[in-house]
Amino acid sequence: MRNKLLIAAAGIGLLLGAVPAWAHHAFAAEFDVSKPLVLKGTVTKMEWINPHAWIHLDVKNPDGTVTSWMIEAGAPNGLLRRGFTKNSLPPGTEIVVEGWQAKDESTRANGSNITYPDGRKLFIGSPGTGAPGDKGGDKDK
């Protein structure tokens, strides 16, 4: 009886609420799940705005030309509460964005995974506070 109860409890969303995952619109309304991409480029601007933050990225194409991309990220206020600020992703930073391309415009994408070129993840944890094990945050700190 006890085991059954536990299994039932774990399986029926006891731990996760019935609220939809992303607080608002479906990803599929904006982005094309059949067009995954990886973009490596230089940040020209980071807009810490709601409902989505936007990273402006200059990507060098194989032929040497540069394309300006707009990457949709999450809502910033949770990150701001962890100590990130407008200086946490300064222009000039090189990043790698993995995500999916927009359905209607070729130079917009959703950024599901954003890292520094060395693989360190961006926006994880709290920004450079010098704490032991601190991984994310300002590159120049």
Binding site: P76, L80, F84
Partner: protein, 240 residues
């Protein structure tokens, strides 16, 4: 108040037409002749000390561009937040709630609101529409220091603007129980040749049961902002 400070709590509103143009202006036509006199712009005495805004030459050119495109580019047309100091002289009321700790300003327009931090000053984490407000008392005057603007708000419907290095210092002081003097010092070395001031009188609403209403104007801008993206085969109104 118990701490000896004047209580600014109340429903306040500026009179005059500063939101149309903070400088002196004559009556003029509006964008739609179909609205006749209702759609026209009334005259107004300016609220800028000294009369003229001290724009740098390049900024003055930008202001003129803004003016020429004002019925399209004014953030107020799109129901965007008004920024500071424009929020103080919009033609709509705002409520001040003064607690012993912090002071809340709630504006009827677009449900804009901001909390004035009266404790240790905090730095702006990001640039925002209403900026980051730190306040303190100088005798009986509430002084609010606002920084961290995103440079997107205008000062009025005439295209007056500033950049994201704008710094505003507001001063609120009661002239009598029902009248408040509002003064703001505007500083932005990227846009103006020197700091300058505006001065507005705020009047307390004294109607029985006067209370802050809600003017959520976003839905009145959707046709404007997204109308060309609506499925054309929709025969009925795209919706409320």
């Amino acid at each position: 108040m118990a701490d000896g400070k004047p209580n600014l709590t109340g429903l306040w509103q500026a009179m005059g037409t500063a939101d149309w143009d903070i400088e002196d202006h004559s009556a003029q036509a509006g964008p739609f002749f179909q609205l006749g006199a209702i759609g026209a712009i009334p005259p107004g005495q300016g609220i800028v000390e000294g009369g003229e805004i001290p724009y740098k030459p390049a900024a003055l050119e930008q202001k003129k561009k803004n003016f020429a495109n004002r019925f399209k580019d004014d953030p107020e047309v799109k129901c965007y937040m008004p920024g500071v100091p424009r929020a103080a002289y919009l033609p709509y009321p705002f409520q001040i709630i003064q607690s012993p700790k912090d002071i809340l300003f709630a504006y009827e327009y677009a449900t804009t609101n901001r909390l004035i931090n009266m404790g240790k000053p905090l730095e702006a984490a990001t640039d925002t529409w209403m900026g980051t407000s730190n306040g303190h008392w100088e005798k009986d005057t509430l002084v609010v220091d606002v920084t961290g603007f995103n440079g997107n708000a205008w000062f009025d419907r005439a295209g007056d603007f500033a950049s994201d290095s704008l710094h505003v210092v507001e001063r609120y002081s009661l002239i009598d129980a029902n009248t408040m003097n509002y003064e703001a010092t505007i500083e932005d070395p990227a846009t103006f040749t020197r700091p300058w001031k505006i001065n507005v009188i705020l009047y307390r609403h004294r109607e029985k049961d006067a209370r802050l209403l809600e003017f959520k104007c976003v839905e009145f801008t959707e046709q404007l902002l997204y109308g060309d993206l609506v499925r054309k085969s929709n025969s009925e109104n795209p919706g409320k």
